[in-house]
Symmetry: C2
Subunit: 386 residues, 2 copies
Amino acid sequence: MGKRVAIVGVGMSKFGELWDMNLRDITLEAGVSAIFDSQVKGSQIDAVTIGNMSAGRFTGQEHLGAQAVDMGGLGNIPAYSVEAACASGGAAVRHAYMAIMSGEHEVMMVLGCEKMSDVNQSEAMDTMSVASDWEWEGLFGATFPALYAFMARRHMLEHGTTLEHLSMVAVKNHANAAHNEFAQFRRPVPLEVVMKSGLLADPLRVLHSSPVTDGAAGLIMCTEERAKEFTDTPVYIESSEQAGDTLALHDRKDICTMEAVKKSSASSLKEAGLKIDDIDVFELHDSFTIGEIILTEDIGIAKKGEGGKILEEGLTEKDGKYPVNTSGGLKARGHPIGATGVAQIVELVLQLRGDADKRQVDGAEKGMAVNIGGTGATSIVHILGR
Amino acid sequence: MGKRVAIVGVGMSKFGELWDMNLRDITLEAGVSAIFDSQVKGSQIDAVTIGNMSAGRFTGQEHLGAQAVDMGGLGNIPAYSVEAACASGGAAVRHAYMAIMSGEHEVMMVLGCEKMSDVNQSEAMDTMSVASDWEWEGLFGATFPALYAFMARRHMLEHGTTLEHLSMVAVKNHANAAHNEFAQFRRPVPLEVVMKSGLLADPLRVLHSSPVTDGAAGLIMCTEERAKEFTDTPVYIESSEQAGDTLALHDRKDICTMEAVKKSSASSLKEAGLKIDDIDVFELHDSFTIGEIILTEDIGIAKKGEGGKILEEGLTEKDGKYPVNTSGGLKARGHPIGATGVAQIVELVLQLRGDADKRQVDGAEKGMAVNIGGTGATSIVHILGR
């Protein structure tokens, strides 16, 4: 194995409807927390990468890389902004991974952020459509809930998945989020409440969907050599892989599977020299609960069609064989779009360091994060190890 | 010198007001042209990076990386989107440079694009403000013409730069664009017409400003080893450097200079082992003509304050000592924001291959491109050599 990239610090802002903070404040909070956690000095940071989907529409500000360095007082260092819809955070992690592996930078700050609550719900829904195929989906009224509803309906038809299965994901993730101080929703929800929540896009109900969230997350990443300067408990990126698919859902052969997830998770395991059973803890993109079900199948925790069955068996509970979304996931931790992929990595780092408190998976040594853009047009997978 | 990154193909769409094409069509045209120019097969492309500023606002579509791969029929390969305001194109080139240097990819397509004419002029001006500091500049009415007008006014006061100097840049660049088949404006403009054109933001007039443009540009980049498969005339990236500055103009010590340009151009020369006099041809970011004047000073063609003087001396003419913007520059080739940084590289590659036709600088061996984001909060410099 060649040189590796290490993560030596993590930070989060609160996730939620942050009425008294703007995008700048939120992002700064995550970045400063990551600096404090890492013991890295601001002057030791060579460059910043930030992931964000649509601040241009949500807040009127692009050029966020430059803004992040500016407000952090980090001087004239390079700043990069990347976007991959809901996978923008994972794209930022992967960007920094490549920048460090290329030799261009040694110590980097990685940020993900989104401020979604400053526009009304209708505008927020419109803006989320920028991640779908606007000309062939969004323009005709196919919102994200509608697109995921297609997947859910088909999965029910082909594989016998039930409304109860869709709801069990929400129950599990809300229960986990109750122990996460940064989560948007910290209240457990009973199964019958999820099942009877308002209809969003049949069969999906409100409590099958992630919320509109403001929030940011941050990491300090560096070369393996430099990591020793900053911490005794570095976590390493064992592999970083990405794959894509058609932008529009209707162009795919099978909407019950995400080809990009199958490819990127398989190649990430191969690259890390691991099998799926070697992974101790998972963060899987559950923007809608059907998403988590499909992802457990596509990464190989469950056979295709049995994502509901493993929920019944409790395999993805915190103390199950394959703990999924101990953080609360997008469903309950919240889904500030550009922040999500970075927040997934924050959770895995806490788990691998043994710092996850009541959410801790005992003895976790390897973790996998799967961050999805759109309905699966982008999939970014990171495997971390200690 | 270690391994280098090569450019083996270039392509452009027409630049202009392209009423009968959408963002997809324009981008596809540039990408397909680059593939044809390179002799690379689509199946040999490992990944795509696309630079764009604000398609989310201009056209309702983000997730452009996924869209580019999808419409190109390139399969499940990774797709990256990067943004750095008007330096988004340069950021895409630098992203691919790092991705190839990291060993993650061998052959990549790089695209830059923007479709600006589908919104009205007022909305276009508002959208451009996402590249400035929205909360401290844009919100208070400081448009881009206004911000560059501050720089121009101060440069006139401190250094004796004149309205004639500001106008000579436009005259030169329009004359160059007359020979560029992809340029938006191919008609030479006399000095007195520029000087008497409508007032935009005193002292800047309409013909001191780059236009609203639709367009895209593309490159095929690969490792030095792979380059031999595709071409006998590879052009190499001798250095790729980036620096930043405060997002807002008013936070800088001196608005007659761009610190990020000074740093990134100096480090790019150092990295390439070259002096400024070794560079044969330059593409410098002239979104407003004062920009080209400031950049010639900051990269070291002229002493500070003498950017006007070297125009009088004809040093930056096509047949001068330091040819600047043989393509016509942003001023006359046009400035589709995310495409500009890539189009600068296309021009340098044509020059170094000897393919620049009537714009050819005899025997050009080294070229430098400087791509600016905002009022200089981002500067990305590439030096190319053959």
